[in-house]
Amino acid sequence: MKRLRDLILFFAFIGPLSVFAVPTEFAFERVPSRFETLELTAGSRALGETCYSFGTMPDGTVCNSAFLPEVTQGSLMGRVFLGNGYAALTAANQMVYQPISKEFLQSLFEHQNVTSLEAHVGLVFTGPRFSAAFSPYRVQYLSEVHNPNFPVVAVHAAVERSFSFSSGFTLEELSGQLSDFSVGTRLRLLERTYVHGTFSLFQALTDNPRDLLPVQIQKGIFVDPTVAWAKKDLKWSPRVSLGVKNLGHLFPQTSLYPERPDFGFGFGLEPPLEVGQLKLGLDVVDLIHGPEGGGALSRFRVGSTYHLGIMDMMLGWNKSAVSAGVQFGIQVVQVGIVYEFLRSELNENTTENRIATEFSVRL
């Protein structure tokens, strides 16, 4: 009966399954691909992190600045995004901001084989042709216990603060024939504090804790310009967008966070429906450098959303995960939940389930 119940919950996208540690000395040498995300929101995650192909996201914000002219009314939103594993929030903050002790490092070996956490707090203002976002706190944390016979812990904890400012406008004023084209740009200011390393239980007992996990600080300023074309007069309202990301400077440069400039484009459709609104999107990202360790297919991201009244139902796919989510919102309050099936990087034959929730207040 228990096995049957687990199977039902698995196919109902509910209930996390633990990932068993692989008995190997392998430890990740780069940021887990699951953390290579720009927008840490329920809508973005549920849509497979598509951005270029969607005008307005389900939560009312705009990811692609070239589509800001489509916004008709301004709004201010405060939101909290929280992935499961929130019990590790204290550990993540202590790893980055506080002095760490040998006892604290030893306690990591007593945790689950894989502990991960993602959380984000932010304010977003979206208006016609203009948007601004402030994120005072965004944390990503992952610890994995390897090799049970000689335990090794791999830890990655990063806390970010950022501010972004976006502007977009149509080219109708330049020429009437260009009324379907629009351009936009986003300016991002970023400060990242992180630790990343591996150590054995023996090292945790003998070495200086901060020597094992030194704190690294990065600061960056980036510009992300985009150009888009959208034809709402046509039956399926096609839209195409091309953008460049990470034009700017990051100091100091590290191999862990290279933040290299790259191109991406997106293609979106809105099939006409009698009831509700359906949007489909396909993004192709990192055209030059490509995700590390991934093939051509790893550049693709697919997302779809169906809107009806107070509800948005979303599906998404990318190289790291398959996701499904739903958002409910009326007047001021909006809540969302996302279920993700992640492919384990250590063992591609296994998956882990993850739940993330988001609470928003709109003014």
Partner: protein
């Protein structure tokens, strides 16, 4: 391996960055606008009563569409939220589904309100149509007169609401700026400045913009005031 101890100054954005983005935030063209008027076009060729009827019909169609969307989506969301709440084991997932149930019930109620109840324009139009006509004046002139007065009254009400919003957003912005200037927490300070800036933009936008009701009222023609004196077949003065 080099140890980097983070100092207080390293944890803060440089002052130049904060000054930079706040100056941009406050110097931008106003973009937080009152909902654009989609109805206040080409109204000079219509009488006040015709404008009232068109506005009532447009609002009724929009309310019917939105109302049924709320009812259907609320029912569907309720059907998902209730079982998902009892199947979920995660605390925050249960919170989301609990809030979802509340939102769903509210949506069904609000949708029913939109579908079943007439808007103010339709109700006034019905009052005009049901009122007995006075025999001394043409009935069409009465309807135009009353419709014009109703639209003017709506515009004045909308103007007063806009004034209240300007004052509210201005006070909120001022309070946020003062609180931001007096706090020592960097993240809280930045967040308060951000919210204050947004409220300042909103106050300016409402202050220099106008609502759809005001634009309609300015666009329609004032009906002629007819005074009939003497017998029924006597002369007529028009002002």
């Amino acid at each position: 391996m080099k140890i980097q101890q983070k100092t207080e100054s390293q944890r803060n954005f440089p002052f130049g960055f904060r000054l930079f983005y706040f100056s941009i935030l406050l110097s931008l063209p106003l973009s937080w606008s009152i909902p654009r008027a989609t109805f206040a076009e080409d109204l000079e060729s219509h009488s006040a009563h015709e404008v009232l009827q068109q506005k009532a019909s447009a609002l009724e169609a929009e309310n019917q569409k939105n109302g049924w969307a709320y009812i259907l989506s609320g029912g569907l969301a309720l059907g998902i939220s209730i079982p998902a709440y009892y199947l979920s084991q995660d605390l925050f997932a249960k919170v989301v589904y609990s809030v979802g149930q509340t939102v769903s019930v509210g949506a069904v109620g609000y949708g029913s309100y939109l579908v079943l109840l007439d808007n103010d324009y339709r109700r006034f139009e019905k009052v005009i149509e049901q009122a007995p006509a006075q025999s001394t004046k043409p009935f069409s002139d009465q309807k135009d007169q009353l419709s014009y007065l109703f639209l003017k009254e709506n515009a004045q009400r909308s103007r007063n609401i806009r004034k209240i919003r300007v004052i509210t957003h201005s006070l909120t912005a001022a309070l946020n700026f003062v609180n931001g200037a007096t706090t020592s927490q960097r993240e809280l300070q930045t967040a308060l400045y951000f919210i204050g800036g947004v409220n300042a933009l909103a106050a300016l936008s409402f202050g220099f913009g106008s609502s759809e009701e005001e634009k309609i009222s300015e666009s329609i023609k004032k009906p002629e005031l007819a005074i009939l004196a003497g017998p029924l077949v006597g002369f007529c003065l028009h002002f």
